[in-house]
Homo-oligomer: 208 residues x 2
């Protein structure tokens, strides 16, 4: 056919759309094709809706920080949990990620405080103890007033290693160190545990 | 245990994070849990990276518009295809969505112009012919210079209905109206077709 042939004239999307696709592609689990789908969804929004969405992305990072006490992500430091007089300040639950705090809170039974490590010790990923919030946990314990540290890292190799490392580090200090009980399926993720399983883990925690 | 019990004190995330989760939840195929995962990924970015991401979301909508000729999404109107002197202006390929333009462009063989409907006629979704860019297509044909209109809507009920509707509308006009050939699997989506299948569909297009 005479209407076909010749060099490709136009292969991609307008620059602002292409830039958004690139940004969406950086998100975990989002490939190029999904990123396109998301970008074109944004184009179906009104300009003010898209602006609001964009502002929410920027603000989530800009308007949050780490709580000076527990290292959880918060908009006001100390965070709502650390400021709450009704929480048991002698009890500290150590979790890997901020999402894990939300999971434990969903049990509606835990009344202690938290400490968020922001990761686990992982030689494979080049994460040493200095790369997670272990020094701040130790300082917190040394300051006194903590009777028990519950190690609630995920029950996998890296989570167990991290728990063991912290347990050894805290051994010289007058603090009870416990680990969540079995109940969370091995290989599973704390973040996705149902409330009942997680509550049972809390109740059955054992000395480490 | 004395350390447990009492009302839930803290159930969700800091407001800026919660707002971002809500925004991500609006995206197609993203549920609450995925939205949380994406929001926490954004928190791992630097503040300038998050700001850049947010700006990309706002800019994608703010800095694009519809091409005055073909209704495709573009940063400059008329769009790059419509401005290109090497394209065959007598040939117009009618597609449902901007993504479909990119799919046809990937054949690297099509040299005509486009017309983007931004949807299909769908009584089920309450989309009438007035809700898609059919009037602008008719005006374009009436203006003259168009020898052939290729109807490249998806080969499903709504795409076929829309193609038939447009074919009838254009019947009184001195223009050839064709439909993409079979080759695209029925029930499939134009957007995801491989180049070879799509090229075969173009070459085998038939009178409607």
């Amino acid at each position: 056919m005479t209407t076909y042939g010749g060099p490709p004239a136009f292969g991609s999307f307008p620059a602002p759309v292409e830039r958004l696709i690139v940004q969406f592609s950086k998100l975990p689990g989002i490939g190029r094709k999904s990123a396109q789908r998301l970008a074109f969804f944004v184009l179906t929004l009104s300009e003010s809706e898209a602006a609001e969405f964009g502002e929410a992305v920027a603000a989530a990072k800009r308007d949050t920080r780490l709580c000076e006490t527990c290292m959880n992500i918060t908009d006001v430091s100390p965070c709502a949990v650390c400021r709450n007089d009704k929480r048991d300040r002698a009890l500290v639950c150590v979790v890997s990620m901020p999402q894990d705090v939300a999971a434990v809170e969903r049990t509606r039974e835990y009344k202690g405080l938290y400490h968020v490590l922001h990761g686990v010790i992982s030689p494979m990923s080049g994460k040493s103890p200095d790369d997670v919030e272990i020094a701040s946990l130790l300082a917190r314990v040394q300051k006194g007033g903590v009777a028990e540290v519950i190690l609630a890292t995920d029950p996998d190799t890296e989570g167990d290693t991290t728990a063991l490392y912290i347990a050894r580090l805290l051994a010289p200090h007058p603090v009870r160190v416990t680990r969540l009980a079995y109940g969370i399926p091995i290989g599973g993720r704390l973040e996705y545990s149902d409330e009942t399983t997680l509550l049972r883990s809390l109740e059955g925690r054992r000395e480490l």
